[in-house]
Symmetry: C2
Subunit: 216 residues, 2 copies
Amino acid sequence: MAAAPTGPPSPAKGRPRSAAADRAILDATRAALAELGWGGLTMGHVAERAGVAKTTLYRRWPSRNELVVDAVADLFEDLEIVDLGSLQADIEAVVQRFAALLSRPETQAALLALFAEGTRDPLLRRRIREAIVDPQKELVRCGRARAQERGELPPDADEAAAREEVDLIFDTIAGTVEHRILVSGESVGEAWIHRFTTLLLAPLSGLSAGRPAQRP
Amino acid sequence: MAAAPTGPPSPAKGRPRSAAADRAILDATRAALAELGWGGLTMGHVAERAGVAKTTLYRRWPSRNELVVDAVADLFEDLEIVDLGSLQADIEAVVQRFAALLSRPETQAALLALFAEGTRDPLLRRRIREAIVDPQKELVRCGRARAQERGELPPDADEAAAREEVDLIFDTIAGTVEHRILVSGESVGEAWIHRFTTLLLAPLSGLSAGRPAQRP
DNA sequence: CATATACGCTACGGCTCGTAGCGTAAAGAG
DNA sequence: CTCTTTACGCTACGAGCCGTAGCGTATATG
């Protein structure tokens, strides 16, 4: 789902759309976002920077929101969880990467502005979640399944409950990373990576009883 | 710090600024924000809705960001921690209120858009933090001090560490509330209020050793 | 070749921004 | 009461961006 979200890319008839233009536009969008911020991002700027006519932009994306969603989602595209041999290491790698992406100013400005718009647009919220948040959760579940195969983790007693637990915890992580970076202006360092990883591992490995947390 | 952030309000010379206009403008800003969203918020709309000339807006606030910061901060103004007799109840009340405020669509759209702009503006970040986040933390510290007076909590061994712990935990809460509402589209229910409260209480009462968390 | 689509370019109406100018309203100083 | 000072409402303005339309050209298929 890199670009051209609407309809078939080209039904093999007439001049095909330039893939280079797609890439140039997405790159230009991210660059303009990092340089000018959301408020300073204009379709004219993006078009000029990409070396493309403004009309070409509108031919592909109906609105600025759609364009930015694709531009940011493009960053999260090549995802895979490497097998580092232990659940701890695998999960930590995912969190590390997620935090790194959320630490980029361009990602921050884009996501927050999109969330702000998403307040009034449920479909936009859904697109953001599907393109960016869900894949990260899937990575964690993947690493978890692998740990179960290794015997490092007992098999799930309740599959649905386990999924929900990952959802909850991951929301905590993502939210905290954003908030930490944006409100306090501090980046997410190694200490926090460990903290988040631990937060993820505690319920997964059935250690949540060790916490005084009480969830009805 | 309700309005007119720049300079003295009126050096008792000439016609004084209308306090009613201030209130009308802030109210109109919040209303327009809730109705039209950040993208649809224009100075003209706010002025018209407030029954005020556009020039009056610019006389008080240099930019839209400043205006919205004040409009939202105004929501968090009348803060006080009521003594409910137990630390658990006091803290829970603070979290409850904070979550409720963050659950309002107008607050969400405003804060997120402000954070997005804050990505490029450290001063804006600072203003947001001082006006909105810090007071909430202060409330928690207040309730904590009261609990110590009651003997419910032992006195601090390390004052600075205790402050930092509140910072960290509260960032987690605030970030999670935002994320939960905006990404997953779910509100923060009673279960989460309890979860957050527990998260706050655990380190405060020295129970953090019970968690498997390891913070270097 | 004809056909069909994409592209770049130019131009347009509409909207918003932030400012300037002007006459009027509301306070204090003499 | 008069003078001064500041706030207010109103109008108008240049600038910038939006999103669209029209047109000629470029690049694919048959």
